[in-house]
Symmetry: C2
Subunit: 597 residues, 2 copies
Amino acid sequence: MSVIADRINEMKEILKKAGVDFYIVPTADFHNSEYVNEYFKVREFLSGFTGSNGTLVISQEETGLWTDGRYFVQAAKELTGSGIVLYRMAEEGVPTIEEYLDSHVKNGQTIGFDGRVIDAAFGRKLEKMLNDRNVTFEYETDLADALWTDRPGMPASDIWVVPEAQCGKTVARKLAEVREAMSKEQASHMLLAKLDDIMWLYNIRANDVDCNPVALSYTFISEKDAVIFVQNKALTEEAKAHFEKYKVQVKDYTQIVQFLETCELKGKVMCAYSEINYLLYKLLEKRGELLDRENPTSILKAIKNPVELENIRKYYLLDSVVLTKFLFWMKKNAGKQPMDEYSVAMKLDRMRSEIEGFLDLSFPTISAFKENAAMMHYSATKEDKKDIDTDGFYLVDSGGQYVGGTTDVTRTIALGNVTDEMKKHFSKVASGMLRLADTKFLYGCTGKNVDIMAREPLWECYIDYKCGTGHGIGYILNVHEGPQNIRWRFNPGVKEAVLEEGMIVSDEPGVYIEGSHGIRTENILEIVKETKNGDGQFMGFRHLTYVPIDLDAIDTQYMEPSDVRKLNDYHAEVYRRLEPYFEGEEKEMLKAATRAV
Amino acid sequence: MSVIADRINEMKEILKKAGVDFYIVPTADFHNSEYVNEYFKVREFLSGFTGSNGTLVISQEETGLWTDGRYFVQAAKELTGSGIVLYRMAEEGVPTIEEYLDSHVKNGQTIGFDGRVIDAAFGRKLEKMLNDRNVTFEYETDLADALWTDRPGMPASDIWVVPEAQCGKTVARKLAEVREAMSKEQASHMLLAKLDDIMWLYNIRANDVDCNPVALSYTFISEKDAVIFVQNKALTEEAKAHFEKYKVQVKDYTQIVQFLETCELKGKVMCAYSEINYLLYKLLEKRGELLDRENPTSILKAIKNPVELENIRKYYLLDSVVLTKFLFWMKKNAGKQPMDEYSVAMKLDRMRSEIEGFLDLSFPTISAFKENAAMMHYSATKEDKKDIDTDGFYLVDSGGQYVGGTTDVTRTIALGNVTDEMKKHFSKVASGMLRLADTKFLYGCTGKNVDIMAREPLWECYIDYKCGTGHGIGYILNVHEGPQNIRWRFNPGVKEAVLEEGMIVSDEPGVYIEGSHGIRTENILEIVKETKNGDGQFMGFRHLTYVPIDLDAIDTQYMEPSDVRKLNDYHAEVYRRLEPYFEGEEKEMLKAATRAV
């Protein structure tokens, strides 16, 4: 680990020369993406900590790393010998990064960061907090770059175009909808930096971030013009022709800075401060009036159109077939032949890749046996994995990118015998998932209103799962998508998104007992309109996922009769939909797995 | 009705002379109270409309009355012949008062109102909306006063002191808590105008508003001093001695204006703009920096202390005994002897008044038979009421003010035969009430998270009740109290109150079928702490109300087995608690009414 200690010391020298007192290194690309490509893993390079979330603050006195609960154990291990102090986020008495800076930064000092990887909202917060301390912000240089001699190149995968028949809305129509939203806000221009929103808007995809089919890009839209900034080498002939067709000007990715410095601006520029980076924000701030607004693309993208929905339903069924077959194979072979968490994940990934229209995984498959399943973000590797035999729960959370949608599904199955308590937990989780899916609600409800439907069977037993119940999912895009979610905790100042017809959301309650077992049952639901009457527009959900819920782990004594009814109804529907894809012994297994209990 | 038309014409003359183009008359006292005394019913005097909510806007061109859905029928009737235009609030295409003024007020015009009956938040909204139109606000005169020659006097009932043993916290301690909250906000002073908050703070009560045991008053608190403004004639010797004991300076109610103009101010003044009137706001605005903050008394008052809770539990039981006896009498005698909605309400009020410690009703008893019960705020009068016989639902919503608490309870009972559909509705309402009461939730939840527990049995049938599920309740104070509530709809900008241990809330789902029947089952619940474990602090509810739910209207085929279990458990507890107060035939009835089904 002394290589890390050395690196930190070299950084301190660089900071000293640059006159920077505190240097902040988050885990982010230039677009505040949830997942980042290797090129952007500066924090990992400097600290040696490999988790997906963490921020480093380096000063001459101390180097601190902030990360969240998922990574406390891993970070402590990986930071050993580095001299870096671990700050466990959200633990009692642990300062946030803002609080830390507030109590450490002295009058006249300098804070440094690469302005492209810090979002404008955070930068503004720091400005405001320190504004009476005469602090300088050095944000125009990536000071770690010089140190990282074998840094991977910036990703620049080929941009491809989603066929018109597949996306249901032309670029022209999407641009018109965005311009309508701009005009409502009285904005003449809009800067959009969120990668999946840009992909959606222009009906393009690429592969610049693992599992997320996006291209590094920006777009600047005005009442008449639309300019997209992409890397020259990513620009295929197909993409070029597509942009020409829709009169979208193309400029190189790196030209965004010069463009924002010199382009003609009349009127207000709309952008989301949490999604554009601080460097671009400072450029625009100098040039005129800014409107901090949610991207209109966010809600437009979340409400799937009829073509997208039709494709989504189709690919969710094909995906369900494969997962069901995989789980049957697991049930049959576990304990009888050698297998481990990693090898079976590879098998599932292979099976999925054989579906016609498969493009990629939508995230790395989570494959976990026994106590490993209690870790919500566990990841088995070729080197570090557990053998799978019997007498425990096996959990698999996986999904694919297809030419007609993005899937996400979790099932937990009993291999061999499981205890009565495990069956109780499993039955409660199944009840919660099914209850939420069967909930009717009035138009206007948000995820805050309905979350308890999935959670109450567990809360009644004084058990909680420390995460949301559901998230939105992209269409051939990121597996996590907003603005809707199903969560119970309020975030002050965050506007809650109403659950709209055509949105899709996950429904994934779970039980996680440290050192023992983990259960998650996740279906994806489509939001639909139901009856409209004098009391209002009623809404409901429909399942998109059709994979049996393991009856070997169900004990109906822990369920309400209505939950059992919901389970049987769901299984009848699973059988009806999957049956055409099954034959022989597998069909018998399907029949048994979906029998009424 | 021509007397009203004449009055409006006279008002127009007055406005002309005063140079006022638009005159606004809300339904409010000087404290933005929910219910107001006769003295403050200027809007009713001018318009002839007797509902509890409505605002009049008078101009030379038009006089409009805005009221809500509860009163559309009644207002249309009462406004006939007056020439006043009815604006049905929240109906599609109907402008709000703000929108109306925005589209009608011209450059340089004058808007008038009595600045004491318009709250500062609304006044500021108008100022902001019209600030580019050079509009003058005339707010220092009550222009209708001259016209109302037989206006009742301002109420000035005797102030009495809640004994220390009854309130659980001394004035000194409450003032210390308020000052702590002020110091957190860095406020040196606080103006409090909310009547029930002032009563709570000083452990005093009076009778200036029907059913609301409050005295017209203001209080101004600084780091060292506390001044209360009450009417001289309301100041009893007892109250005087009490204020002296706690070093609270007493000034006359009318002196508040002069005081705020001249008192020594150093530092910021904290107040809630929605609860202080515009006149006082303008005075303070001239003098220095204001902080618009929730009154700290609001949350302090809502969390009942152990002494209050003990008394509340006791008086809810006594109140439950009386209501149960009344309902038994109804069941036995309806259809056999003459009775009507008004006469039986009088009987219940009389029975309640015989409870030792009874002070007043907490609101006028709602007593409604058959289709009248479908009107949520129906009120039978001596002159206008319905005879009660058999074959329908009878709904009674009532409560009392006692020396140890304020009660509120609703029951619906079947008299004679009711239809299968009515039983279905009744059983669903009972299920909803019982489910919410049995809900376990994590600390941090608000009413938004749990509302669906009461509502889902109805939403599943595509039925809604167009009101919240629950509200807070005062202690020997107003029957409606914040800040907590149980509702599902989000109000943008309103901070949701977390459900805290010691709060009490109503749980009152219902079904209202216009022209047919109405059902409401309302228990009051206490919020309690349950288990605390690694997943957090779990919370729950306890019933305070113990009155049978009419088994003649229950059909268990419409309930989940767990709902039936909850009903039986509740009834067993009702029997256990009420039994000591029942004898002979009534005891037999109690046994039958609480039997397991």
